[in-house]
Amino acid sequence: MKNEYFPYPAVIEDIKTETTDTKTFRVWFTDKVLADSFDYQQGQFMELSVPGAGEAPISISSSPSRKGFLEFTIRAAGKVTKSIHMLKKGDYIYLRGPYGNSFPFEDIKGKNLYFVVGGIGLAPLRSLINLVMDNRNNFRHIKVLYGARTPDDLCFKDELEQWKKIPDTEVWLTVDKPSAGWGGRVGVVTELWKETHINPENAVSIVCGPPIMIKFAADKLQESGFKDKDIFMTLERYMKCGIGKCGHCNIDDKFICKDGPVFTYEQKKGFRHKEHIF
């Protein structure tokens, strides 16, 4: 009987500072058999442990198309994530998973894609975006609409620049509070609707960010003519076990950890007390 609660050691191979409170950790399993058989899908998460501090569910931010490592982009927010930030290259971290469903990939080939992202929400979406970029010919026009609190809070700055250079790919940035030297747009992510045309034709949108941002962005996409089934979003809940047992992430008969975190707007509308989901 497999013990789903039991974590496996991985070595931190690299740490990249993204913002003042966010770092990307590149890790890989020490056990060769596990490393060789490990696989995951875009949008899935893993449970990361620092023994003594505890365990937290963290999205995988690397793309499954890029093999031999895992990346987690983590904001130091609570006890566990702050402990992870204390770790150094060469240290062990303990992992189990991957868990949860995934962002669509096969089903959205041949479509125009709109990624609507807020803050650290780019971490799970980066997994899908890089998977799409590694299969760029299978997709049509792509727009990444990304909002952050301040210019310093924008993650993956190098990659944002790289994505822009790819043909038929646009990256639109906005910040809530500009800092000195920021020449870009100011305002919440839905303000970008004024700047760039949002066309629902043969398009799907994938939204990820803080709950309040998802709510406004999804509503805005619907107003723009996107069908409910073509708006994908992540739902966020406090989570412990990751495998549908501890109960915390329940919504109706679903567990966000097991049945989510990715849902369509259509599914979200089917939930009971749906006005109180976010």
């Binding site: 009987m1 789903e4 501090a53 927010a77 609570g78 076990c241 501890c246 915390h248 007390h273």
Partner: protein, 362 residues
């Protein structure tokens, strides 16, 4: 049931044991099993506790065993899902698992609690399988004990058909008959237990079938609290039925102590955290409750169920709507403990009465 060759199979499916022999049976069984049986503490509370292995302590504990009119404070769920449980330990770079496999004889389980155990078994076995729960139930024998009278005034098992006697799911079931128990055999494991300890059991005489039936009917009639359980499930199954007024009113009354969920036989939620002492640490899990504000509060401080009534709604909808939708069985097994333990008089039976009888009682 008639077996091959006209042999009356039913005759071998019921045995009889004198009440005076129960202590000796438990003493003998405790050599092979960890025996859990209701014991009355000096303060008057009854707990489903493990019998000690030490001979003298065992003799003392056997004096405290009670099997009649027993109201155990909590259900026996903590035998398989302890209130606090270590799931693994760690030191330096080593981590090791700490599952528990001991053989367990659970003696004197109320039929409603048996339903609760079976409900939790199904939940924990379902993908993903819970290693710790499943290892604890691997080697288990359940001796149910039907209730002649409701042990709590809040019992409403006859309305939910979860008691006062179990129809299945037990290995053995005791049917109280004066100074003896009829022992109904539910499984091959139950039969083997009787064979192992055959000196305590004998064959029942006469028309015992009819006697057992009469005892069960009388027990069923003894329940005064009756609610329209099936109607409540049907109502709650309708997506258009949202008794928000009830949720809001009960939500205002509730003091969010979580007591109802701790005593509930089917509540399975837990929290997980690490404890460290002198470089050696352990990951533990402990009972949690969906009515606590912190249950859904995120690191950012955002809480999708900050409103109290949403937590109340979750409690009733989980038990009476979503469990039923997923498993075909109600998550409430009608033990009545939530009401008997509630400091402000809230309970599932009252909620059922409110929605089916369309009146305010809380």
């Amino acid at each position: 049931m008639r077996g091959k060759g006209g042999k009356d199979m039913k005759a071998s499916k019921v045995k009889i044991i004198g009440k005076k022999k129960i202590k000796d049976l438990l003493r003998e069984a405790s050599q092979e099993w960890n025996v859990y049986v209701p014991q009355k503490w000096s303060d008057g509370d009854v707990w489903m506790d493990q019998l000690p292995k030490d001979k003298q302590m065992l003799d003392e504990a056997l004096e405290d065993v009670v099997l009649e009119d027993v109201d155990t404070v909590i259900s026996p769920k903590d035998i398989f899902f302890p209130q606090l449980e270590s799931i693994f330990k760690f030191k330096d770079d080593k981590i090791w698992e700490t599952p528990e496999f001991s053989p367990k004889l659970i003696f004197g389980v109320q039929p409603c609690d048996l339903k609760g155990i079976l409900f939790s078994d199904d939940f924990y076995r379902r993908n993903f399988e819970d290693r710790y729960y499943v290892s604890r139930i691997q080697n288990r024998l359940i001796v149910a004990r039907g209730c002649l009278r409701p042990p709590r005034p809040t019992c409403f098992c006859s309305s939910a058909k979860t008691g006062p006697f179990a129809e299945d799911g037990f290995d053995l079931q005791l049917v109280d008959f004066g100074d003896s128990y009829f022992v109904e055999v539910g499984t091959r494991e139950g039969e083997e237990f009787i064979t192992m300890h055959k000196k305590f059991f004998s064959e029942p005489d006469g028309n015992y079938d009819m006697t057992i039936k009469e005892i069960k009917t009388k027990a069923c009639d003894s329940l005064e609290l009756k609610v329209d359980f099936q109607n409540a499930l049907s109502l709650m199954a309708q997506d258009s039925f949202i008794p928000e007024e009830n949720y809001r009113r009960i939500g205002e009354r509730c003091i969010y102590c979580g007591g109802c969920l701790y005593v509930c036989p089917t509540c399975t939620c837990f929290n997980v955290f690490d404890n460290v002492k002198d470089k050696e640490g352990e990951r533990v899990r402990n009972w949690d409750a969906c009515v606590f504000e912190g249950y859904t509060r995120e690191t950012s401080g955002h809480n999708p169920r900050k409103d109290k009534w949403l937590r109340t709604a979750r409690r009733y909808e989980h038990k009476l709507k979503f469990d039923y939708k997923v498993t075909g069985l109600s998550g409430c097994i009608a033990c009545g403990r939530c009401l008997s333990s509630c400091p402000v008089g809230i309970g599932i039976s009252k909620f059922i009465q409110e929605i089916t009888e369309k009146r305010k009682i809380m």
